[in-house]
C-alpha cells in the first residue's frame, strides 16, 4: 500500500483495526510487539500506520532490540523520530523484529526467531531491520522505520523488493535509537515507493538538540520530475567476486535503462574499498562492546532471583541475556580496544575510514550518484549461511557507505531466481533531494513489480 492510498481511505478507524489484526497474525514473524492500543490521531499523516524497529525507543511500549536481556524494558520516553511521527498523526502499530541489537544481515539472530521473507517464507527477509522491511513488503503497513549501521535498511529492502533509504550521517536525530555503533548508524525509512520514503524522511530529518551530531538539511519535497543531466559512476569494486550473475545482470540493466533515459555513466575504480569491511567491523564492534556494557540487569531488563555479588550477578545476566552473535561482537570489540591493540586496530580503522570518506567525496564531485548492487546475492534460505564470516562478507557493498557517512538508497531493479534484486544509489552528503529525485526517475521508468 502506498501512503497516498491510505490517505484516500474513508473509514480510517476500520482500516487501522484491520492493520492491527493483520499485524497480530505476524505472518512473517515481523513483529515483536503489536501496539493493540494504537488509535487514530490528528495530523497530516491522518493515522498512517507505521511500524518501528524494536531498537527505537517508544514510550510505554516494550523495546527489546530482539534481545532476551531487554525483555520487559519499557522506555519512559519516545525517540525523536517517534515524537515527530506521532506529532504528524502517525499511528505506531508495533515494534518490528530484527537481528539482536541490529547485529546481523539476515534477521536470524533475533531472540524471537527469524523474520520470513514475504516473497518466499522459507527465505530470510534480510537484516538487521528485517521485520520493518517485511511489514512493508508484506503489505501490513505503508511505511516503517529501521536503522542502518552497515546496510541494515538497504539489505532487507533489497531482499524484500522495496525501497530503503539510509540518510546522511547526522541528517536524522539518533536520540532514542538504541546504539549499536554510534559513529556509523542512521535511522532509515522503508516504503513501497521512493516518493513515500521521501515523505517520511522529510518528516523525521533535522537538527535535534539532544543529538549533538544531528544537523538541519534542505527539504526534499516535492521531488522534481526533471532531473536534468544525470552522471553516474559505476565503481567496479562493487561488482567483484561473490556478486551473483543474476544480480549483476539486473543492476547493469538498470544502468543501461538510465543511459537510455539520457544519463551518462562511467566505470571507475575505488581503491580503498577492499579495506572497508575490516575497518567497518573493527569500528562497529569496538563501539558495540562499550554500548552494550550498560546491560547489567540492575536497573531494567532481564534479572534473576537470588543475586550474588555484583560480578557474579552481571556475568550471569549477560551470559544468559545476550545471544551468540552479540557476544562474539562484544568480545572482538573489547579485544580491539585493549591496550596494545587499540593503535593497531581501532586507530588504523579510523584512518581507513577517513581515506574511504575522501574517496567517496572525490567520486561524488564528479558524479551525481554511484550505482552498485545493494547486496551481492538475493535472499538466502533461512539457516543457509551459517559461517559468520560469510555473513559479514555479504555487507561488502553497503558498509563503505556508512564509513563515508553519505546517503544511499536501495530501489528494486529486477528479479533473479524469482527473487527481488536491489539497486544501490549513493549520493552526496546531505544531498538526499538529488538522490531521491534520481531514484524516483529510475523507479518510474523501470516499473518493477511490488508485492505489498
Amino acid at each position: 500500500m502506498k501512503i497516498s492510498e491510505w490517505m484516500e481511505i474513508e473509514d480510517k478507524e476500520g482500516a487501522l483495526l484491520r492493520v492491527i489484526e493483520r499485524a497480530k497474525k505476524n505472518e512473517f514473524n515481523e513483529f515483536i510487539t503489536v501496539n493493540e492500543g494504537a488509535a487514530l490521531s490528528e495530523g497530516g499523516l491522518k493515522g498512517l500506520p507505521v511500524a518501528i524497529k524494536d531498537n527505537i525507543s517508544t514510550r510505554g511500549i516494550e523495546t527489546t532490540c530482539a534481545s532476551r536481556i531487554l525483555r520487559g524494558y519499557v522506555p519512559p520516553y519516545d525517540a525523536h523520530v517517534v515524537e515527530l511521527l506521532k506529532n504528524a498523526g502517525a499511528s505506531i502499530i508495533g515494534k518490528t523484529n530484527m537481528d539482536e541489537f541490529a547485529m546481523g544481515t539476515t534477521s536470524e539472530t533475533s531472540y524471537f526467531g527469524p523474520v520470513r521473507n514475504p516473497w518466499d517464507k522459507s527465505r530470510v527477509a534480510g537484516g538487521s531491520s528485517g521485520g520493518s522491511a517485511a511489514a512493508v513488503a508484506g503489505g501490513v503497513v505503508p511505511a516503517s522505520l529501521g536503522s542502518d549501521t552497515g546496510g541494515s535498511v538497504r539489505c532487507p529492502a533489497s531482499f524484500c523488493g522495496i525501497v530503503g533509504l539510509k540518510p546522511t550521517y547526522g541528517a536524522v536525530s539518533r536520540y532514542g535509537l538504541i546504539a549499536y555503533a554510534n559513529s556509523l548508524e542512521q535511522i532509515g525509512v522503508f516504503a513501497n515507493t521512493v516518493e513515500d520514503a521521501a515523505l517520511i524522511f522529510n518528516l523525521i530529518k533535522g537538527r535535534d538538540k539532544r543529538d549533538a551530531t544531528s544537523m538541519d538539511s534542505e527539504s526534499v519535497l516535492p521531488l522534481r520530475e526533471d532531473v536534468g543531466k544525470v552522471r553516474i559512476g559505476v565503481p567496479k569494486e562493487f561488482f567483484g567476486e561473490g556478486v551473483d550473475e543474476g544480480v549483476e545482470r539486473e543492476v547493469w540493466n538498470a544502468i543501461k535503462l538510465m543511459e537510455d533515459l539520457g544519463a551518462e555513466y562511467e566505470e571507475i575504480s575505488m581503491n580503498y574499498m577492499k579495506y572497508a569491511l575490516p575497518a567497518y567491523y573493527i569500528i562497529a564492534m569496538s563501539e558495540a562492546s562499550s554500548n552494550l556494557a550498560r546491560y547489567d540487569g540492575i536497573r531494567y531488563g532481564l534479572r534473576f532471583e537470588n543475586d550474588e555479588d555484583f560480578e557474579t550477578t552481571i556475568s550471569r545476566i549477560r551470559a544468559e541475556g545476550f545471544g551468540k552473535e552479540v557476544k562474539r561482537r562484544i568480545l572482538l570489540g573489547t579485544y580491539a580496544l585493549s591496550k596494545g591493540y587499540y593503535g593497531r586496530y581501532y586507530l588504523k580503522a579510523l584512518k581507513v575510514r577517513r581515506l574511504i570518506k575522501e574517496e567517496f567525496d572525490r567520486a561524488l564531485k564528479k558524479f551525481d550518484v554511484l550505482t552498485t548492487p545493494t547486496m551481492p546475492f538475493v535472499a538466502p534460505k533461512i539457516g543457509e549461511i551459517k559461517d559468520p564470516l560469510s555473513l559479514y562478507m555479504a555487507d561488502v557493498n553497503t558498509v563503505p557507505v556508512n564509513l563515508a557517512g553519505v546517503p544511499a538508497i536501495s530501489v528494486p531493479c529486477g528479479f533473479s531466481e524469482g527473487l527481488p534484486v536491489g539497486l544501490q544509489l549513493i549520493g552526496r552528503r546531505f544531498g538526499e533531494r538529488r538522490l531521491l529525485e534520481i531514484a524516483k526517475w529510475y523507479e518510474d521508468a523501470s516499473n518493477i513489480r511490488r508485492l505489498g
Binding site: S289, I298, Y300
Partner: protein
C-alpha cells in the same frame, strides 16, 4: 624517610544549574534517592549525551586559575569499566585532550612557600553513589542512588609534590578557596570534593587511597597511611602497590585490591560528542576571572595595611574576605582584621558555622564602633559576639541589656574605696610585700562593676590608692 604525596581531586561543579550531559538540575542534595534523574543521566538505552557549555566554561576558568595551559581542542572519551554506580558501563571522561595541562598552585609548605605542580585538569561525569551498610568489605548489600549520576565533575591531578599530610591539606584548602572565588563550587555540600591520594615513601611502592571525602579526612587518611607504611618498613616489609579505601568513621585505611597491573579502561573517543574547539575561550574567560586569593591577599595588605597573617586568614575564604572588606570600609581596618580573623573566625569554627551563617557585617561594624568609642571592654566585646552568634540581637542592645557598658570614671574611686575597706586582709598582704594580692582586689572591683570597667585602668587606680595608703602609714 621522605614521603611523596600526589593527589587526584574530584570537584563537583555544583553551582551549575544542570548536569554535565543533560538538563537535569544539580540540586539533588536534599532530594530522596533516585528522584533527580532523567533517561540521559540514568544511561537508559537510546539516550545520548550533549555537552553543557557552562560546565566547559567553568572548567576553563578553573584551569586558568590554576595557571594551566588551555588546550585548543578538547574532546571526550569513554572510560570503560563495570561498576554498579556507573549506569552506562562507561564514564564519559577526558583522556588525550583534557581542558588544561601543566598548571601549579602556591601553598604554604612545611618550609615556606611551595609550588605544587598540576599535571592535568579534565572534565567528566560523576557516577551514582553507592551506600554500603556498614564497612565496605563486610556489607551484605549495597544501595544505589543515581541522583549524583551525571553531575559535572573536574578531576585535578597533581604531581607528587607534597611531602607531608599537612602540605596535602594546605593544597586542598588552597584549591577549595580558589574554586570558591571562581564561584563554581560550594564546598559545604556533601560529596562536593573527593580526594584520592597516592602515597609512597621514597623508593617504595605507590599506594592509592580512595574515597577521602572531607577536608580533615585528607590529613587523617594520609597520617594513618604513612604510619602504616613506616611501621611495615621498620619491620623490614616493603609496602605493596595496592588500592586502599579510607574508612572515615574509623579513620583507618582498608585494603581494597592489590594492583598487579594497571587496569585497562579501553579509552576511545565518545562518538556522540564531537570535539570542541576552545580557541578564543581562554582569552575571553581570562578577562572574566575574578580576583583570586593570592592577589586579594596582596591587595588587602597594601590597601588596609593589615598583617600578612591576618590577610592570609581573611582571604582563605572568599566570603570571609568579603565580610572583612565591608566592615573595614567603616571602621579601622586593623581593628576589623584583628577582630574578624582572631575572634570571630574562632567563635565560628567553635560552633561549626561558616561566615555565611554569621550575623551581617553591619552588626560587626556597630560592635567595633563601640570598642573604638571606648564604650565597652574587649572582654565585653567577645561576650557580645558570642551572644549574637547564639541568640542573635544587636550589639548596642545586648550591651545595654547585659549592663556591659563601661562605667564612668568618676564612680571608680568610690568602688575602689569600698573594696579596700571590705578586704583588709588582701590590702595588708599587699602592703606587707605580697604584690600579687592586688589581682584579687582588681577582681573584686570588676565583680562589683560586673565587668563594665577597663581592668587595666582599675589596676592603675588601685595601685595608686594602695601606694597612698602605704605612704600614709609610713608617715
Amino acid at each position: 624517610m621522605k614521603v611523596l604525596i600526589g593527589l587526584e581531586v574530584h570537584v563537583q561543579l555544583n553551582k551549575l544549574k544542570s548536569k554535565m550531559f543533560c538538563s537535569t538540575p544539580t540540586n539533588y542534595h536534599h532530594a530522596p534517592p533516585n528522584t533527580v534523574v532523567c533517561p540521559i543521566c540514568l544511561g537508559l538505552p537510546g539516550t545520548m549525551p550533549t555537552i553543557n557549555r557552562r560546565a566547559v566554561e567553568s572548567a576553563v576558568k578553573v584551569a586558568l586559575a590554576l595557571n594551566a595551559e588551555i588546550q585548543e581542542r578538547t574532546m571526550f572519551y569513554r572510560k570503560n569499566y563495570f561498576y554498579p554506580d556507573l549506569p552506562k558501563g562507561f564514564q564519559i571522561s577526558q583522556y588525550d585532550f583534557p581542558v588544561g595541562l601543566n598548571g601549579y598552585v602556591i601553598i604554604d609548605g612545611d618550609e615556606g612557600e611551595k609550588k605544587v605542580r598540576i599535571k592535568r585538569i579534565h572534565m567528566e561525569e560523576d557516577p551514582g553513589r553507592l551506600v554500603h551498610l556498614g564497612r565496605i568489605d563486610k556489607a551484605k548489600y549495597t544501595l544505589i542512588d543515581y541522583n549524583r549520576s551525571g553531575m559535572p565533575l573536574l578531576e585535578i591531578v597533581t604531581e607528587p609534590d607534597m611531602n607531608s599530610p599537612k602540605e596535602a591539606r594546605a593544597f586542598i584548602s588552597k584549591l577549595r578557596s580558589i574554586l570558591e572565588y571562581l564561584d563554581v563550587f560550594e564546598g559545604s555540600l556533601e560529596g562536593a570534593m573527593r580526594v584520592d591520594a597516592n602515597v609512597s615513601i621514597e623508593g617504595g611502592a605507590r599506594v592509592e587511597i580512595k574515597n577521602i571525602s572531607s577536608f580533615k579526612g585528607v590529613e587523617k587518611a594520609l597520617s594513618f597511611e604513612i604510619t602504616r607504611q613506616k611501621n611495615l618498613l621498620r619491620r623490614g616489609v616493603q609496602p605493596k602497590m595496592e588500592t586502599r579505601h579510607f574508612d572515615e568513621a574509623q579513620e583507618i585505611t582498608v585494603s581494597l585490591r592489590v594492583k598487579e597491573e594497571e587496569s585497562d579502561y579501553r579509552y576511545f573517543p565518545e562518538p556522540d560528542l564531537p570535539p570542541m574547539d576552545l580557541s578564543g575561550w581562554a582569552e575571553k574567560l581570562k578577562a572574566e576571572l575574578p580576583e583570586l586569593p593570592d592577589a586579594r591577599r596582596e591587595r588587602l595588605i597594601a590597601q588596609y595595611r593589615i598583617s600578612v597573617e591576618h590577610a592570609k586568614i581573611l582571604t582563605g575564604e572568599r566570603a570571609l574576605a568579603d565580610y572583612f572588606e565591608r566592615v573595614a570600609s567603616q571602621v579601622s581596618p586593623k581593628l576589623a582584621a584583628a577582630w574578624i580573623s582572631d575572634v570571630l573566625k574562632g567563635e565560628l569554627n567553635y560552633r561549626d558555622m561558616s561566615i555565611t551563617e554569621c550575623f551581617p557585617p553591619e552588626k560587626m561594624v556597630e560592635l567595633l564602633k563601640l570598642l573604638e568609642e571606648d564604650m565597652i571592654s574587649d572582654k565585653a566585646a567577645v561576650m557580645i559576639i558570642r551572644k549574637m552568634l547564639d541568640e542573635g540581637g544587636d550589639p548596642r542592645e545586648i550591651m545595654e541589656r547585659e549592663g556591659l557598658k563601661k562605667v564612668k570614671e568618676d564612680i571608680l574611686p568610690g568602688v575602689i574605696s569600698s573594696v579596700i575597706e571590705e578586704n583588709e586582709k588582701a590590702v595588708n598582704d599587699y602592703l606587707s610585700g605580697k604584690k600579687e594580692a592586688i589581682n584579687y582586689l582588681v577582681g573584686q572591683v570588676m565583680k562589683k562593676l560586673r565587668g563594665r570597667a577597663d581592668a587595666s585602668r582599675v589596676y592603675e587606680l588601685l595601685e595608686r590608692r594602695l601606694n597612698e595608703i602605704d605612704n600614709n602609714r609610713k608617715a
